[in-house]
């Protein structure tokens, strides 16, 4: 039997607010335990939540960016369960009436565009953290994260492979960073993903029983965990068994998922509208004001890079995945005044290589956009060749100063003096009579050998174009 996987993702993004969703406590990451947990966050008796306006703006911003319905009236509900890192005994979330519903994101996979529906996005508060290391048989609780604003983004079960799920996730990741509503840091838990996975016989309309995968907080793990889970479910079904609805934890060390707990308790959350919070209401002017803050979105930027700079779809895509990268590129283009394609090659090629090697984001690049523009200018005005430029960039990356300083210090200025090049060409020809003879008898490929020898003799500094011209002239005579 042919099986069809069905995947839906639930993504929690931490909103980039200064303060928490319902209190004036800081959301800064990395503070000492419980330094950022105020009376509201730790649920002391008598406290009341007061909603953060910026979190509302960010949720609306997201909704607008995915073409969703913005609900001018939404309701906060209590999701009841007991766990020590949830001080109130309930999480304030949105249930029946979320702030955002019915949007979509287009993904590209295998050259085709596919629309993935977004069921809803709702505001909620994060819980604290439990530390299970040894505290004499006790558990330590850090409530710094409790009350941090989250937007939970729930997709439709529209994805049919692990790769599609990763495409969607990457697209979403890029989008929320463009919108500057989330820093997207997966290690710090700012962008967390759960996946609902089921399989069904191809052609069947109703969905199979699904499992929910947790702990898949990297793009690679998402793909591996979903792949494993699809195979596992198919094995169960083909072995005559049934898939149990449950939560499964991905173990990256073993590359497998294992049962965590029965999902049946999900029906026991006993949601009800939170009496502490009247409905969240705003009018169209609020939405309009948010709309004005929308930046150029990744797809639009990619299309513009193709038309404005003449880039191909691949380069334009790479350069617009992150907003910071796109900004960097445009800064280099404008500061260097050089061919945008040349700039694209340097940014996506050499520079990205250095960034990857040192595991740095473009924002922390050791070579600023101004510095790279300075170097590319020297290629454009023939001070250095592209080959020498690689050496210059390496020196710049290692802190030897700007392009001009490196060129000066290392004596890398290209030799464009005709007589100087001619002299070297003469020497090369004189030293290689056999090859000169071969060339004369029609062996054109020897030409490349001469070029190589001249470049070698000048440590790569001779202007290649001039070397070619002079060689041609000399060999013809």
């Amino acid at each position: 039997m042919r099986w069809e996987p069905v995947i839906g993702l639930e993504v929690h993004i931490q909103l980039l607010t200064q303060s928490k969703i319902f209190s004036g406590e800081s959301t800064r990451y990395g503070a000492e335990p419980n330094m950022q947990a105020c009376a509201v966050d730790i649920a002391l008796p008598g406290v009341l939540p007061v909603m953060n306006k910026e979190a509302v703006r960010m949720a609306v911003k997201f909704g607008l960016a995915v073409g969703a319905q913005i609900n001018h009236r939404s309701v906060f509900a209590r999701k009841n369960y007991f766990y020590p890192d949830l001080p109130k005994g309930y999480q304030i979330s949105q249930y029946e009436l979320p702030i955002v519903s019915r949007g979509h994101i287009d993904i590209e996979y295998d050259g085709a565009i596919k629309t993935i529906g977004i069921t809803r996005a709702h505001l909620e508060e994060d819980a604290g953290k439990s530390l299970h290391e040894d505290f004499h048989g006790l558990t330590g609780i850090d409530l710094n994260r409790a009350g941090t604003p989250l937007l939970e983004i729930v997709s439709e079960p529209d994805m049919r492979s692990a790769q599609e799920a990763v495409s969607y996730l990457k697209k979403l990741h890029a989008l929320v960073r463009y919108l500057q509503i989330c820093d997207g840091n997966m290690q710090e838990g700012s962008f967390r993903c759960d996946a609902n996975v089921s399989v069904r016989p191809r052609g069947q309309t109703e969905l199979g029983t699904r499992s929910e995968l947790k702990n898949i907080n990297s793009f690679r793990f998402v793909e591996k965990a979903i792949k494993f889970e699809i195979e596992r479910q198919i094995d169960v079904l083909e072995g005559g068994g049934t898939v149990v609805q449950e939560t499964r934890l991905y173990d990256p060390g073993k590359d497998e998922t294992r049962s965590m707990r029965s999902k049946e308790e999900a029906h026991d959350y006993r949601y009800f509208p939170d009496p502490d919070l009247p409905p969240l209401e705003f009018d169209e002017s609020f939405v309009k004001a948010v709309k004005q803050t929308l930046p150029e979105l990744p797809d639009a930027k990619r299309d513009r890079f193709m038309s404005q700079y003449g880039l191909n779809a691949y380069d334009a895509g790479v350069l617009t995945t992150a907003r910071e990268m796109a900004d960097y590129y445009e800064e280099v283009v404008s500061a260097s005044g050089a061919d945008p394609k040349l700039v694209a090659n340097w940014v996506t090629g050499e520079l990205s290589g250095y960034l990857n090697k040192d595991n740095r984001e473009i924002a922390d690049s050791a070579v600023s956009s101004t510095a790279l523009a300075g170097m590319i200018k020297r290629i454009a005005d023939s001070t250095i060749s592209g080959k020498i430029a690689k050496e210059v960039l390496d020196a710049m990356w290692n802190g030897e100063g700007d392009a001009d300083a490196v060129i000066e210090k290392r004596g890398l200025k290209q030799i464009t003096d005709m007589s100087a090049i001619e002299k070297v060409v003469d020497e090369v020809l004189a030293a290689n009579p056999v090859q000169v003879e071969q060339h004369a008898s029609g062996e054109q490929k020897v030409f490349g050998y001469f070029v190589g020898q001249v470049m070698k003799a000048t440590s790569g500094k001779a202007n290649p174009k001039q070397v070619n011209e002079i060689l041609e002239k000399k060999l013809r005579s």
């Binding site: 607010t17 200064q18 303060s19 004036g24 406590e25 800081s26 000492e32 335990p33 419980n34 330094m35 950022q36 947990a37 105020c38 009376a39 002391l44 007061v50 909603m51 953060n52 306006k53 910026e54 979190a55 509302v56 309701v75 906060f76 509900a77 009841n80 369960y81 007991f82 766990y83 020590p84 249930y95 029946e96 009436l97 439990s130 299970h132 505290f135 048989g137 006790l138 558990t139 330590g140 609780i141 850090d142 409530l143 965590m260 707990r261 029965s262 049946e264 308790e265 029906h267 026991d268 006993r270 949601y271 009800f272 509208p273 009496p275 919070l277 009247p278 409905p279 969240l280 209401e281």
Partner: protein
């Protein structure tokens, strides 16, 4: 987390999902709660009830559900469900940090702390 997953008749009605939005509901849930239902609700709320109390709760909770059933009989077609008894909108505050650290004060109330963490009995999922 150890939560009972037993099924009780209460499952039919406690879900917010199944709150009626209009009166044209075809199925009428069984309203009376039995002891198992009460025990389940009590467990979810981490309340300990003895047999005597369970009986009393079953009776009084059933009366509340009867009242709800009476209200369900009213035709509410076209009426927006109310989320809050007051006609108030949510007050929003500007996104500013206004709290100052009071960890020591809070932790003086805690039964046990160590290395700035609150300590609780061991929890393992």
């Amino acid at each position: 987390m150890n939560v009972s997953t037993g099924k009780g008749g209460f499952n039919q009605i406690h879900e917010y999902d199944s709150l009626p939005h209009s009166s044209n509901r075809s199925t009428k849930p069984e309203m009376a709660l039995n002891r198992a239902d009460v025990e389940k609700i009590a467990h979810l709320a981490r309340l300990q009830v003895d047999e005597q109390e369970a009986k009393a709760f079953a009776a009084s909770l059933s009366r509340i559900l009867e009242l709800i059933e009476q209200m369900n009989a009213v035709d509410t077609t076209g009426v927006t469900p109310m989320a809050h008894p007051q006609e108030a909108g949510l007050r929003l505050r500007e996104d500013r940090v206004t709290e100052v650290n009071a960890r020591e004060k809070f932790q003086r109330n805690a039964p046990a702390t160590e290395r700035d963490l609150y300590l609780v009995p061991k929890v393992i999922e």
